[in-house]
Symmetry: C2
Subunit: 696 residues, 2 copies
């Protein structure tokens, strides 16, 4: 469960509007709370432990975000970082070669000098939260459409710039919209861009059970990856880190999950949920499934193609299963009725107060009216995003073209992805020595082009311009085979050369991206002005009304920023009515293994069998309210000690995007005891085990 490239692009494509949570729906253990508004008293009341401000500060500072879409934590004072296997597998794949498939074999840095830089990883450590609501509201007051978007961007750029010198890349500040515009906050981060791979297990055990077991529990998975943050060529000192629990957890015990849930949509209006149910998912799921089918057969061309497409296929499978579960939740008439009823209640409460009704009474209808236009403009907007997102070579070309142009403008007038601060990531991505597989790239680009033609039609002027006289296959093969953008040095030169270098470039992918950029910008601007801006305006009115009716002690929809959830280790009743115990064991892993993928145990585990304690808890379920983006989060006890490592949710967790169901929604972790057992007895990674144990 990870917010990888696919999720984030889809999330952007869906233009999710995030609203404040409904207190009426709030129930036991629900909530992805900001660190500055954690319900410590409620936790104390239910579980007899009240997290102190110091406890919260310690946990916040020990927790990390992987900017590409995961969570993590420091687990030693020497910058050792724990996260999931599926959060580091992109790096492992990038460090692999046709001769050495590290994804398959796993990677172990036996010596400190074996810790290898991940080409394009960034770790963010939250250092401060600053309320900037007043400044943002003042900047956008009275503006609509494109003017509102421009004012918001300018203010965001200004605020981001305010928190550190632009030359200090280790400072990152993001303006975060919480409660969908009810609150704006400036999140200050310490940023680490030198991140190295310490450990990844073999794929077979890191993803034991594969797609069939994904989002299921009981489960037996060793989904861990270890990284280390470096600065100036040395491991960083990380005084805030999580200690390892001596005893692990037990059933019923209070546990917390700090991390970065990627996004929830619990407070969308009913009209927006209907749009998701009746437009977004019916269109996107088959496209994702078709792409999945292509990747599956691409992998069968040979071992090298299998290696190349492996990670992409994993994320596509993951995204597909998650989205299908979400669609199912919206298609469930009983669940949908709860959303309709909640909206009706809030609207009735608003209607009962004339001042509120004047301000917010029509906001739901305003959003509902926008959905027709959204259906009209959506396919074109999604098509240009699909191209950027599916083809990394086109994405790089577009980024180079835009970075060249945007850097000629004042910071506050740029597209938000090209402010000085954001350029740190653009530049890292552009220059990273990430291998490009031209055969896979051809598949990706052709797929995106074919989708565009299918969704907009052969006779659409944009499609005619994009394809020229060629078919998607012809165009993709020509551009990918002729471009030199697979060479990081070529990309760096174009980046450094700026607009002049772009103008002078004869690279066909650069020319292709440059010729389309005015059209693509115009489509984006039009969509953002006609859909995003009025949606945001209406959603802000709803958010204010909601504060007025329900108060502010509720958690905001998730935004891939630091949150803390609480809950208990607990089983659940499955769809067949059977109670599922909260723990599995290492013995169960061996029972489930076979010689048939995805249930194959690697040789390392088979060899270690005699040494392993079969009764050791392997995976566990807890009631913590989490979602994609929380992957890699530590599971900690009341002493803030590590008792597990979040890596998934059960099948009932998928509807959690739209609402939390305490009876069935479960977070799934690797038990801390299995982690130590495996690192020590299977991988003999003694220096790391000692580093962790020393930190107990």
């Amino acid at each position: 469960m990870k917010i990888g490239r696919f999720s984030s692009a889809r999330a952007v494509a869906g233009l999710i509007v995030l609203l404040v949570a409904l207190p009426l729906a709030a129930r036991a253990d629900e909530g992805m709370w900001t660190f500055d508004n954690f319900p410590s008293k409620a936790v104390a009341q239910k579980y007899g432990f009240e997290p102190s401000p110091a406890w919260l500060k310690h946990v916040q500072s020990s927790s990390l975000r992987i900017a590409q879409g995961c969570s993590a934590s420091f687990v030693s004072p020497q910058g050792l970082v724990m996260t999931n296997h599926h959060c580091v597998v992109e790096c492992v794949e990038q460090l692999s070669t046709p001769q050495q498939n590290l994804v398959q074999s796993g990677y172990i840095a036996r010596k400190p000098e074996d810790e290898r830089p991940c080409p394009a990883f960034e770790l963010d450590q939250l250092t401060a939260i600053q309320d900037v609501t007043a400044a943002v509201k003042a900047a956008t007051a009275g503006k609509t459409g494109d003017a509102s978007n421009l004012a918001l961007r300018a203010e965001q750029a200004k605020l981001q710039q305010s928190c550190g010198s632009s030359s200090d890349k280790s400072v990152r500040c993001d303006v975060v919209s919480l409660y969908h515009g009810g609150v704006y906050a400036l999140y200050h981060y310490k940023r680490y861009n030198d991140v190295r791979l310490v450990f990844a297990p073999e794929y077979d055990i890191g993803q034991f059970g594969g797609d069939p077991d994904n989002f299921n529990f009981p489960r037996w998975d060793f989904d861990i990856g270890l990284l280390r943050a470096y600065e100036n060529g040395k491991p960083v000192s990380s005084p805030d880190y999580l200690h390892w629990s001596k005893n692990g957890s037990s059933a019923g015990e209070l546990v917390f999950v700090p991390g970065n849930p990627g996004g929830t949509r619990r407070e969308l209006t009913v009209a927006q949920l209907e749009y998701l149910r009746d437009h977004s998912y019916p269109n996107e799921l088959p496209e994702l499934a078709q792409y999945r089918g292509q990747l599956e057969q691409f992998e069968r061309r040979g071992p090298e193609q299998g290696r190349e497409a492996h990670e992409t296929l994993f994320f596509v499978e993951n995204q597909y299963k998650a989205d299908q579960g979400r669609e199912q939740a919206l298609l469930d008439p009983r669940f949908f009725a709860t959303k309709v009823a909640a909206e009706k209640r809030l609207r009735a409460a608003v209607a009962a107060k004339p001042a509120l009704q004047r301000e917010a009474g029509t906001a739901w209808d305003d959003i509902a009216k926008l959905q027709g236009l959204r259906a009209q403009l959506g396919p074109r907007y999604n098509a240009i995003q699909g191209l950027e997102f599916l083809s990394s070579l086109f994405g790089d070309a577009q980024a180079l073209v835009r970075a060249g142009e945007e850097r000629t403008k004042p910071n506050a007038q740029r597209l938000p992805e090209y402010t000085d601060q954001a350029l740190v990531n653009v530049q890292q991505q552009i220059e990273a020595p990430i291998p490009v597989y031209k055969d896979l790239e051809t598949l990706n680009l052709e797929f995106a082009l074919a989708q565009m033609r299918r969704d907009l039609g052969t006779d659409d002027p944009l499609v005619r311009k994009v394809l020229g006289g060629e078919s998607p296959q012809q165009l993709a093969e020509r551009l990918v085979s002729q471009t030199k953008l697979d060479d990081p040095a070529v990309r760096k030169a174009l980046y450094d050369g700026g607009a002049a270098a772009i103008a002078a470039s004869t690279d066909p992918m650069i020319r292709f991206a440059a010729s389309l950029d005015p059209d693509f910008r115009s489509i984006r601007k039009s969509y953002e002005a006609q859909i995003d801006a009025p949606t945001r305006a209406a959603a802000e009115r709803i958010a204010r009304a909601r504060f007025a009716v329900y108060g502010t002690s509720v958690d905001p929809d998730a935004t891939f920023t630091a949150r803390l959830s609480y809950g208990a280790v607990k089983g659940f009743t499955d769809a067949q009515g059977r109670f599922v115990q909260p723990y599995t064991t290492i013995g169960g892993l061996f029972d489930r293994s076979s010689q048939a993928p995805p249930y194959v145990l690697p040789a390392s585990w088979i060899a270690a069998k005699a040494a392993l304690d079969m009764a050791t808890p392997m995976n566990l379920a807890s009631t913590n309210d989490i979602i994609g983006g929380n992957s890699g989060s530590p599971l900690i006890d009341r002493d803030a000690n590590v008792v597990g490592l979040i890596f998934d949710g059960n099948i009932f967790s998928l509807g959690g995007d739209f609402g939390y169901d305490p009876t069935a929604n479960r977070a799934v972790s690797v038990d801390s005891r299995a982690l130590l057992e495996g690192l020590g007895k299977v991988y003999h990674l003694d220096r790391i085990v000692q580093e962790i144990e020393a930190a107990r």
Copy 2:
């Protein structure tokens, strides 16, 4: 637009309940009429021409059904048969070899002796319709569940047997349920099993515009295929045949379409439509898309794989686009509201008459209540059908196992696919020298197995039994590589040897199918008893109520049996509000062509350009109410002369599954003038042109 294997299997999977049409919704030109209930008076009133009984008899007898899922007609007294390219392409593919790709090059039988047998084609010519309602009702009266199914089967087998000696394979009789049980009719056919290929154009022109242009108009496609029916090694004499029009059609002119529409679902209850919208399509479309993606990349392995998968991919694309259009229709709230309103009106009319209310009042609720159980039982039932349907080797193995067992039973007690009459087709299919591509077969079987595991779960007992200890890939590779069922002689020996040969066979695919057959039969029986039988019972009550309220002069939902529709040559207004003229021209075809697939003109057309009259009408749109299965139908004028060849509908025709929209739903034909121009000036098929012209 064809009902090929994919459509028919899906139609079975969906267990479509066919009900009588709603007269209140009946509008101009709507209706797929049986020949014995054609609204000649209404046609006369609107168009000033009243088809006589003789006219109807002539058209009926000149029309043909291709049993695999298309329509056709005799167009000469020597058994020459006109249908679509996409209705003969399966045969063309089967006659191809790795050395000679006839799909790509086209096939022209320049001499009579070049006409090559299609391995497994059957043509059916309707000779008589006999009402058997009383007999069927008497047989099933008072029975429910499995008993009702068994009684219905037994009576059907008896009736089918009654119309000819079982040794005369040229007679075929089918019991057809019309108005969903309002009427049962016995359709008598003359059956032709020796069908030979006369002509197929190159794929590029036979499917000009490919998937992007499919279900679109304007259009430029030469989608024709010619066959000839043989008996005793000689062309049959076909005294009933359609003459060719001298002048073609003109805008506004009355035109008819005889043919075999495969199925409509206009009279499903709202609960059944909701099931399609909320369960069937959301599950099936992504699976179809994933399979499509796999085939697309399989084709890229090399030219031979491209050849092998070409036809399958075409049908999958076609099915996908059609089903997506149908889902869109159901997701359109305005369209859905018309279905809800129509049901409400009928129920109100029923409720107003106490006797009717007693008989039928609860039938809609009965069907609604069944949908929950259907959702529970559906995935398992679909999984076993998917296996049979996707893997032709498994399908053959299962057919051999079942044919062996069923033939030991009396005719009336067999599964309906194995009655003496039905065995003609089973045997033809089993013994046909159809090439089997083991690499493609492996893909198909693995896909079906993986879908089964995904839909039912790794831990499902059936999945465990099917997979044993293997993965879908391992099992598929082993079974397909080791089976000898790709050899028609092996299949024939097993068929001829019956149950004893099956019991003695060590072929792994036979053993696999035999070991699963008890489970698969039990799943099917359970579904049919718990879902089909009570659905049929409730639907029959609704049908009787409908007759009572609205009378019987309405057309029944389509059932892949002979129908006649009427309409006019007419343009329409497209989604952008532009009027689309009803004709395109050969000149337009040349304008649209490029060097990029799917818009490449074959060399034959480029060479003939100077000789062709560019103003010749190419394709045309008409208001005839048709649907998949009508592919290959002739378009005829009031003189019953051929003015075109149906091959598609426009995008608005897709909702026609659930309701006919006269303002936008259009049938699409190749113009008869373009057909002669092409056959003569492009292909120089003089002997056939002369045969057609002699028949003018």
